[in-house]
Symmetry: C2
Subunit: 417 residues, 2 copies
């Protein structure tokens, strides 16, 4: 099945909104074994939208639209699609009831223009929107499947997962199962070099690598008549990848390193703190972005200046004078200091040079990341190269990687680097 | 001039990379008065790329391609575009010399496949790439202009600014000048309501609003025979918007609230610290993401738990017991405490409920943001609604807004909210 994602919205063409929907949907469609061959974006203009629909119909088996399903005059997607496919729009009474209920529970007056959202192509499968007001839908005409989803990612993505994925699965006699193997501490090209022979020979299941922000993901996808069979085909591949790559595999189907650490620490009722220099609060900010972080994260110190390291973490200024702020010893003292100050079970620290300026001693990208427990302290020395944002992100991810290694009984320091 | 941005790369269709180039270029093209009517994405496949080029030629006056200019076998953009437009690719000797120089200064061996990058359509304007290896170019054929740029944003965007913008300006007898007016503390719909009459009447200059992450941007664009005339046409509009919206306008052509605060504080040699609860490090992380932050930011405390507020900021536990962690009094004590602990000139604080869970007293989205100077403390009480990421971002932005108001002599507290 060859798919086109057609996003509708002038805000995308003005550069006001980045089309993250197209990327997120493509990622999930790849997991379903559906080829996405085209993304297109067109504005809230009926003529140009109709032309883009005609192009999509001529080349794709599946068209997924995002955006333009709301109640205002520039929400044109349903009208134009229905006209292009020669289907009348009909009022869906159960969606009218759902809309009235939404407005009443949200204490907002129901205005007549909102009824527009309950008009959907005749004979379609309705996707009720539990995350907003505009329903989506799916229909088939002349051998082309169309799925319409709202534009806001907070509605588009859960509706894809909960409504479109089950619908797409009914279309195939085969079941597709897909798993994500997450890797930290080995680059994409090194992962590929280690697995290339294996990947090239595989047809079903398939194995592919993807570079993510600060780590690497491998996707295993199997097709089989039943879920159980597809699942059984994936498992040996996952085991083989783990055996080949070893400790750099941090999880299967986990969201991120920090989410894994949060769940491991929550399970064991352990608490965490962080002492941050070059990351400036990023370690804490990433962790506390996760719901449920407050049960684990006690707090931290952002000690950007040396005096702060002394005042907030009781680090002897003589230690910094002797070894430098960017040193094994300072990272160790920061982790110990913040653990004592917050009374947490575990503590991490990061000090280094994010650039663009260096300190005249260490090259830009030199970073020391520490982990303190009640018993001991580990420090990783890293050479992270250039790029301020990248260096800061990798420093934070190394702190989470040391935590996950400690929490899963692996050596905290990597064999190299 | 109607433009299509055609992005080439299978990684975009796999959802592995988000197409930020299309958004960034669209934003800059809007500033040049060029209408972007279509974005398309196609993979590294010569047949589908040629089809997409044919569609773009049939509807756009200007086609801007991104990606596919590199040295590997899947870098097809130039070959397919040249063939589509019937232009031969010719070797550009000055680009060969440039490439050899790049490899020698980067201490990497020059391999023959890199020569591919120096082949460009006959008669094109060459855009030398000072940010990577693959040159871009521009040409005109049969009334259609084509601009080809590399894919990585770190090369695509500076090449657009430094090479494509001057090229595009030579095409027009008119000069376009565009300015961005930045607003914090008033929503996009409120801004629009205040300016709608003015905006609807305007033809040249034009005025348009855009919702940005956590604030609002207005763009003023004027066309005139000379830069001076266009500039002179923009200025009265900027002044009128400032007069209408008042203190919520925080700057013209500034990057962000925190970048403005950094420059104001750098100018006056003032230092900053932050005490963060619900933001968990985000205030510090955003500020220290800016190069040059180390001259201003001394550090901070992330006091997610109440005991940390006592231990790190010396806040009397009785104060928290009496008023609660989410209170005017706690925000005040946090700002004072971190200012004392770090010895900074100014200090900000944030405490509140990011959700999804509440505290049983305050609704989710209740946030107190503080600002302490040597003389006094201000606290803003905010009701920021739902959405954990949004609440945390707005809390951080309110801290920067209080700083910029203090630093520019405005009342620190807003009239309402």
């Amino acid at each position: 099945m060859n798919c086109e994602i057609l996003s509708v919205g002038t805000e995308l063409l003005l550069g006001n909104t980045i089309n993250t929907d197209a990327a997120s949907l493509s990622d999930m469609l790849a997991g379903l074994g559906i080829n996405v061959f085209w993304h297109s974006v067109v504005g809230d203009n009926p003529g140009r939208l109709a032309e883009s629909v005609a192009i999509a119909r001529s080349r794709a088996d599946l068209i997924i639209t995002t955006g333009g399903l709301g109640p205002t005059y520039d929400d044109l997607t349903k009208t134009v699609l229905a006209e292009s496919f020669g289907l009348p729009l009909v009022l869906h009474q159960e969606e009218v009831a759902g809309l009235k209920c939404w407005f009443s529970t949200h204490d907002r007056p129901f205005t007549e223009n909102n009824l527009q959202q309950a008009y959907l192509p005749e004979g379609c499968t309705v996707f009720h929107n539990d995350w907003g007001t505009a329903p989506g839908c799916a229909f088939e005409k002349d051998g082309v499947r169309v799925i319409m989803l709202p534009g806001p990612p907070s509605e588009c993505l859960p509706m894809f997962r909960h409504c479109a994925v089950p619908y797409l699965k009914t279309l195939s006699e085969e079941t597709i199962v897909s798993h994500q193997i997450r890797v930290f501490g080995m680059g994409e090209s090194a992962v590929e070099a280690r697995l290339r022979d294996k990947m090239e020979k595989m047809r079903n299941p398939t194995l592919a690598t993807y570079a993510k922000q600060g780590d690497v993901m491998l996707r295993v996808t199997a097709k089989a008549p039943s879920h159980e069979e597809a699942e059984a085909m994936c498992q040996p591949v996952i085991q083989a990848v783990k055996a080949e790559l070893g400790q750099v595999v941090y999880g299967v189907d986990v969201e991120s390193l920090e989410a894994l650490v949060l769940s491991l620490m929550t399970e064991r009722s352990l608490t965490l703190s962080a002492a941050e220099s070059l990351t400036g609060g990023l370690i804490g900010a990433k962790f506390t972005a996760l719901p449920g972080a407050s049960a684990v994260f006690r707090g931290g110190a952002v000690t950007y200046c040396d005096e702060c390291k002394a005042a907030m973490l009781h680090i002897d200024p003589a230690l910094i004078a002797a070894h430098g702020a960017v040193s094994y010893e300072t990272a160790e003292a920061m982790a110990k200091g913040v653990r004592a100050a917050t009374g947490s079970d575990l503590a991490v620290s990061a000090t280094g040079l994010a650039g663009p300026d260096g300190d005249g001693v260490n090259p830009v990208g030199t970073v020391f990341v520490g982990l303190a427990t009640a018993e001991r302290v580990w420090v990783r020395k890293l050479h992270l190269g250039a790029g301020r944002d990248r260096v800061r992100l990798l420093a934070a991810n190394n702190a989470y990687d040391m935590l996950r290694r400690y929490l899963t009984g692996l050596p905290v320091l990597m064999e190299k680097g």
